[in-house]
Amino acid sequence: MYTQFTTILLFLIIGACMVPLILLVGRYLRPANPDPKKLSTYECGELPKGNSWVQFNLRFYVIAILFLIFDVEIAFMFPVAVTFRQWVTSSQAKGVLIFSEIILFIAILLIGFVYAWTKGDFEWIKGLQKKQIDPRFRGDDLK
């Protein structure tokens, strides 16, 4: 096992060094004459206005929550899935047992999934389809 992970470690180190290395190769070849205009933020030719580090919508966060919870669930399922074949092929009773255990585990979490679905948390633009919005304010809602 350690031999294999040594390769992984070496790969990680080489991968981390590769990017500076690639940049170093071109260092003496490429021009470097910066000017303030060139170094300014690109906003389609307009003068950049304000800082872009502004607060963004909370829906990104809701997506991240859903992801993290399901990610943990999937990480938990992997060892179980690895033993699944062994149990299933050994005997019928054990197969039914492991099947029901897995189903119970998934079903509990699917309650949460169904809850989020029915409450409309998967709608990117919430409520836009449901309620008729005055076209004058539509832009606000889309922000």
């Binding site: 096992m1 031999t3 294999q4 040594t6 390769t7 992984i8 790969f11 080489i14 991968g15 981390a16 590769m18 990017v19 500076p20 690639i22 940049l23 071109g26 070849l29 490429r30 021009p31 910066p34 303030p36 060139k38 170094l39 933020t41 690109y42 906003e43 389609c44 950049p48 800082n51 872009s52 580090w53 963004f56 997506i63 991240a64 859903l66 992801f67 399901f70 990610d71 999937i74 399922m77 992997f78 899935a81 690895v82 033993t83 699944f84 074949r85 062994q86 299933v88 092929t89 019928q92 039914v96 099947f99 897995i102 189903i103 998934i106 699917l110 999934f113 998967f122 709608e123 990117w124």
Partner: protein, 368 residues
């Protein structure tokens, strides 16, 4: 079953000087070989091929100036990017701006460590192969957020956040499809997964649910790599170029390179998990001698993966782009429920038929 470094070590055991070198030396050789002989040229050629295909689909010629049929175009592109000025905007957060391509490069390149190109030709034969791949590719999200944030550009930030939201959303169906395969194979080891399949027996034909799973994997992985029709994060008509708007020269080239590297990983993983890896249909390669077997296996593996990659390019230039709300809806209201259903369905199939797939069942009918 060994990994490539150990295999090389064994191969050169009797040689005078090379025999005494430790395994990790061969690891380094193999890694550099993979990067410089495969990854970088492959990405370049893929860019050329994609431009040619785009030309064909849109009824124009595509690159045709550098070399015959423009075949050297990718070298010219690489040289051009090398000679471009490296610009870091004054408003950007410089440290994070530099860190972001590094993170993306590591997560894209290190996934190649567990791709089984042929018998014994796998950089690191990990017990947890496919799970390692999931873990290491999940790092890309961090790179995307940082790239978008560090640029201090509205387009970049929005692109980076959209990319992160999209990648994390589509990681769920991808991981669930992989889990479905693991239910059937009972191992996470990539080489072992290929070994479990055979000339007549590919995982995709194991049961109908696994077939749906394979389709879900392919489409969801397409979205995870931010390819059209799911390229919302770099939608050039909305966001200029998304999270890499402010990147120029070689830094941009790294983003570009890793995009193609990721595309190949998706196809290679699909080949390994669902399409029998290096196995040729109806012809058993394992009886051949070593010198003949390994090149043939690599060719079979590459052919399958490249066919999938070409399909990806075909899709890219044929279908229009999704809208961001449709994209999220598609993931959470179609792919996630369906992949859960496939997972449960496959588990049920396994219990019902004691782990036998359709090919085995049919074979069993003939035998009895």
């Amino acid at each position: 079953m060994t990994s490539l470094p150990e295999f090389l070590k064994e191969l050169f055991e009797s040689w005078p000087l090379l025999g005494i070198l430790p395994v990790w030396f061969y690891s380094i050789v193999a890694i550099f070989g993979l990067l410089f002989l495969f990854l970088f040229p492959f990405a370049g050629v893929a860019v050329y091929v994609e431009r040619k295909i785009a030309g064909d689909i849109q009824a124009r010629i595509g690159p045709n100036v550098v070399g015959p049929y423009g075949i050297l175009q990718w070298i010219a592109d690489a040289l051009k990017l090398l000679l471009k000025e490296d610009i870091i905007p004054t408003n950007a957060d410089k440290k994070l701006f530099i860190l972001s391509p590094m993170l993306i490069f590591i997560s894209g390149a290190c996934a190649y460590a567990v791709i089984p190109f042929a018998d014994n030709v796998i950089l690191a034969n990990l017990n947890i192969g496919i799970f390692y791949l999931l873990a290491i590719t999940s790092m890309v999200t961090l790179g995307l957020i940082l790239g978008g944030w560090a640029s201090n550009n509205k387009w970049s930030l929005l692109g980076g956040l959209r990319a992160a939201a999209q990648v994390v959303s589509y990681e769920i169906p991808v991981a669930l499809s992989i889990l479905t395969v693991v239910l059937v194979t009972g191992t996470l080891d990539m080489a072992q997964i290929v070994k479990m399949q055979g000339p007549f027996y590919w995982n995709i034909f194991h049961n109908p649910f696994l077939f749906i799973s394979a389709c879900i994997y392919y489409i969801a992985a397409l979205a995870e790599a931010n390819r059209t029709p799911f390229d919302i994060p770099e939608a050039d008509s909305e966001l200029v170029s998304g999270y890499n708007t402010e990147y120029s020269g070689m830094r941009f080239a790294i983003f570009f390179l890793i995009e193609y590297a990721e595309c190949f990983i998706i196809c290679a993983v699909a080949t390994t998990l669902f399409l029998g890896g290096w196995h040729l249909p109806f012809f058993d390669l394992s009886s051949l001698t070593l010198g003949l077997r390994i090149p043939l296996q690599i060719m079979v593996f590459m052919t399958k993966s490249i066919l999938l990659l070409l399909t990806m390019m075909w899709i890219r230039w044929t279908l229009p782009r999704y809208r961001v709300d449709q994209l999220m809806k598609l993931c959470w209201e179609v792919f996630v429920p369906f992949s859960f259903a496939c997972l449960i369905g496959t588990a049920f199939w396994m219990v019902l038929f004691k782990g036998k797939g359709i090919p085995e069942l049919i074979l069993g009918l003939f035998v009895s």
